[in-house]
């Protein structure tokens, strides 16, 4: 729908209804049809954030000049992500992507990085000594070596392996953003730039590329080569990173029998837009009859009276979206009322050793079950429609920590490289909605899941097809060798030790019409939102039945389970879970609200 235009009234022209009522009629028509478009909004973009929280980033990662166990020095810590289009704009296969003409653009607006300094201009002493023992001063303030926080943050970009399976270089090809941070920024008494926020970046983000936030902190560890020598290890505690990205408003998802939205509330004909026409409350403009006088306000067709009909709607303000109880707005005039959304959920972070090393896997929570488990629970306070779920699998190597010094000082190799039994290494991920918080009903409904087996085949040094069945990309920010689990293999030309992988987690999809769009087979979008009684009624999910929580979902839960042959984990240096764990990206559409 185009913008409205008026017929200009030049001096000496005879006044006709075209000059007065046509504009008002056109405006009313757009309002009545709920087609006031984003081109007509001063603020046509919604914003979303990719938030990562790390309870600590310490010198058990090889940030600094630290050589124990043979890990490379001065390694950068990174976290990848990708922002695929929502399913209605997703058009890609391994041969390439097709960007449609109205593909919503994504623009990085802001990067923010913060951590805990205990309210002082000091550094926080870390827990990991260079020899692998635990530092007894961990957590204390250190006013002498604030230079530990000389850092550099950046955002890098690379092409995806999915579109080029012969890709052999997993290093980023482009720096989107970079900011060196001097530790003096964190040393002041009266003002410290913590959070450290860079605004107005305005860098374009491609929907089919991989990005990674990269943190370099080369002075975090002890370093006798510096002058003066740096004597203590330090830690970045409660690190929070937030990328704010803007995207033009999107049309909301519409349910149809041939293209269902799983678990969509059935109220209001499946949350159909309640336009003034649809609910019988139109804005009526009365134009003068042919041949009659144009009057100001004495009759229903008066100019001021009809202007008032439009003005009145603006006084009540235009509306759209779905509220926190999944109720569609009562009287909608906006055409596009949804925005792109990402919820980043951590798994297996803040372990005793930084990550999970095979030799110590039995000491992990619930480790007695011969499996490494974790879960994260995210309460649902606003609804969203989930279009894609992406796993970021972490292979970043790390030093292990214990007192006395641990027998296996480094988590180094990929599962299988030491044990010879990589084919028994299985990682299972799941995402569901659940009920049970302050409730007397307890259930889960699966949204997406993925299982990966055998991350290393000795003949190639590469993962088996059963590991890569949903691979999107591999990324290596410490090229060329990488700080990922070592996958050297005899007779093979130095496969890179990539640090991260991105995998698609399939949304549940039994058969048509529940097959959606994605890199691989994927289910139709899945609605998740807390309801009250009127919006508890839902449409089926792809099993052909109602969700197991029957519209009562309260939270999202992400789970991971890692097993290694069904018994105890091998006593070796294999990386079971990389430094500070994995991420699940729940990607979809959120709604305008108030």
């Amino acid at each position: 729908m185009a913008k409205v235009t008026r017929t200009k009234l030049a001096r000496g022209t005879k006044l006709t209804p075209d000059h007065t009522h046509s504009l008002l009629t056109d405006a009313a028509a757009q309002m009545n049809a709920a087609t006031v478009d984003v081109q007509q909004l001063q603020a046509p973009n919604s914003s979303f954030r990719i938030n990562w929280y790390f309870p600590n980033l310490s010198t058990d990662f090889p940030f600094g000049n630290h050589t124990l166990g043979g890990l490379a020095r001065n390694q950068k810590f990174c976290i990848p992500f990708t922002l695929p289009p929502t399913q209605d704009y997703f058009d890609a296969d391994a041969g390439g992507e097709n960007l449609v003409r109205d593909q919503p653009s994504l623009v990085l607006e802001e990067v923010s990085f913060s951590f805990d300094q205990r309210g002082e201009g000091a550094a926080i002493v870390g827990h990991h000594n260079a020899n692998g023992t635990v530092n007894v001063d961990a957590g204390k303030l250190d006013f002498e070596e604030i230079r530990a926080y000389d850092m550099d943050i950046s955002l890098v970009e690379k092409d995806q392996l999915f579109f080029n399976s012969s890709q052999s270089d997993y290093t980023p090809s482009k720096v989107v953003f970079n900011a060196p941070i001097a530790s003096l920024s964190f040393a002041g008494n009266d003002l410290r730039f913590n959070p450290f926020t860079v605004t107005e970046i305005n860098a374009s983000i491609s929907p089919f590329k991989t990005y990674a936030f990269v943190l370099s902190a080369p002075s975090l560890d002890v370093d006798s080569t510096l002058a003066p020598a740096k004597t203590r290890p330090h830690s970045i505690v409660s690190a929070h990173i937030s990328l704010k990205v803007r995207s033009v408003l999107l049309p909301r998802d519409v349910y149809a029998a041939s293209s269902p939205i799983q678990n969509m509330p059935s109220k209001d004909t499946n949350l159909l837009v309640r336009s003034p026409t649809a609910i019988g409350q139109t804005v009526a403009i009365t134009a003068p009859a042919a041949g009659s006088n144009i009057v100001a306000d004495s009759t229903a067709d008066g100019v001021t009276r009809n202007i008032e009909h439009i003005t009145s709607e603006f006084r009540h303000r235009l509306s759209g979206g779905v509220d926190k109880f999944c109720e569609t707005t009562a009287r909608q005039m906006l055409k596009n009322d949804a925005g792109y959304e990402v919820v980043a959920i951590p798994l297996l972070n803040n372990r005793a050793m930084g990550g999970v090393c095979s030799a110590y896997a039995g000491s992990e929570p619930w480790g007695a079950t011969s499996a490494v488990w974790d879960r994260s629970v995210v309460p649902l306070n606003y609804p969203m429609v989930i279009h894609s779920v992406i796993i970021a699998w972490n292979w970043q190597r790390f030093f292990t920590t214990a007192t006395p010094a641990p027998a296996t000082p480094v988590a180094l190799r990929v599962p299988g490289a030491a044990s010879g039994a990589g084919n028994t290494f299985v990682a299972e991920f799941g995402l569901g909605i659940g009920e049970g918080i302050q409730s007397d009903s307890f259930n889960y409904q699966q949204i997406a899941s993925h299982t990966m087996t055998e991350p290393w085949v000795s003949a190639t040094g590469l993962p088996a097809a059963t590991w890569d069945s949903r691979i999107i990309d591999r990324i290596n920010c410490n090229g060329p060798d990488g700080n990922g689990a070592n996958r050297a293999s005899a007779g093979v030309n130095d496969p890179q030790n990539w640090e991260w992988e991105l995998h698609q987690m399939d949304i549940i999809n039994a058969a048509a019409p529940y097959l959606g769009s994605g890199y691989y087979t994927n289910g139709r979008p899945f609605f998740a939102g807390k309801s009250w009684a009127p919006t508890q009624g839902r449409n089926n999910v792809s099993t052909g039945a109602l969700s197991a929580v029957a519209g009562r979902e309260q939270f999202l839960e992400a789970r991971v389970k890692i097993t290694y042959g069904g018994g105890a984990f091998p006593n070796n240096d294999e990386v079971i879970s990389g430094y500070q764990g994995h991420w699940i990206y729940v990607i979809g559409k959120k709604y305008l609200t108030r």
């Binding site: 309210g119 303000r317 972070n349 799941g430 302050q438 007397d440 259930n443």
Partner: protein, 292 residues
């Protein structure tokens, strides 16, 4: 939408009519953000971790929790002449614990010092924090499955803070949302408090008063070892409006590390000597931000 108003029996000319229509055309084609009732979109900040369980051979740090008092005893090397924020969070007092020295000759004892975990956010445009949900999850209350996290959120049988009976439900965990003062951003005494959960009985906010049943519709990977979850779920609903360039600090405060066998302990606690390790932490903040 326009300042022009036309009334019968008053003068009128084409310029005024054209001006009115131009005003309406411009306004309708460039709708100000303020004319949109639903101009907000939500974002989720998901922060969670499962610490190494208490008693593990490899439980080796309290991160992200750090001691509550900034003084020479919690500093390495040379201490400054004075600390900018000896106490960096307001309102974390709990019964029976006095973190500061009671006199110059009596230093504060280690078991009187709580731990804070603070995470910071900055909002360059006005924002609204709508929800802060804090979940302290422990394993199945019925004792089924494998237990890694157990905390009953009770004081002990033999020694309790003043005013509490043996095994009373404890009031020893706080969380608060505070904003840096624009005129003194590093002086935490000046921080306005946007939200505080303080002096509350944790067990009044049980995840559920009903034990999870043995059979329920599970998700995959199924059979989470602790079966269901129990613990404390405290959902705080705002709104908490944040001004432009607001620097927000969300702090959780856990009780001191208490050796239940020590004669110096202020009280007996189910949080034990490693209070950062007796539950999973799930913290979620929901924020509304304006269209841009």
């Amino acid at each position: 939408m326009t300042d022009q108003q036309f009334s019968d029996a008053t003068t009128i000319d084409g310029s005024r009519i054209d001006s009115a229509m131009e005003d309406i055309e411009r306004h309708f084609n460039d709708v100000p953000q303020g004319d949109i009732r639903t101009k907000w979109t939500p974002s989720s900040y998901a922060m969670s971790w499962s610490p190494t369980p208490a008693g593990s051979a490899y439980q080796n740090h309290s991160f992200p929790f750090l001691k509550c008092l900034n003084d020479a005893t919690t500093t390495v090397g040379v201490s400054p002449d004075s600390f900018a924020n000896p106490f960096r969070v307001k309102g974390f007092n709990i019964p029976g614990v006095l973190p500061e020295p009671q006199s110059s000759s009596t230093p504060a004892q280690e078991m009187n010092r709580q731990y804070h975990s603070t995470v910071s956010f900055e909002f360059n445009r006005p924002a609204i924090i709508t929800h802060v949900d804090v979940m302290l999850l422990v394993d199945d209350r019925a004792g089924r499955g494998t237990t890694s996290y157990a905390n009953t959120y009770q004081y002990g049988a033999t020694r309790t803070p003043p005013g509490f009976n043996a095994n009373a439900n404890s009031k020893d965990f706080n969380f608060t949302l505070q904003v840096d003062a624009p005129t003194g951003p590093e002086d935490r005494q000046l921080n306005p408090i946007e939200m505080m959960r303080h002096d509350w009985t944790l067990n009044m906010s049980q995840a559920s008063n009903v034990v999870w049943p043995a059979v329920f519709a599970d998700m995959t990977p199924s059979g989470f070892p602790s079966l269901g979850f129990s613990g404390v779920v405290e959902k705080i609903e705002g709104p908490f409006p944040i001004h432009r360039n607001g620097r927000v600090r969300l702090t959780m405060t856990i009780p001191p590390s208490i050796d239940n066998a020590s004669a110096d302990r202020p009280y007996d606690s189910s949080w034990g000597a490693q209070p950062w390790a007796t539950q999973q932490f799930n913290v979620t903040m929901h924020v509304l931000e304006e269209l841009v």
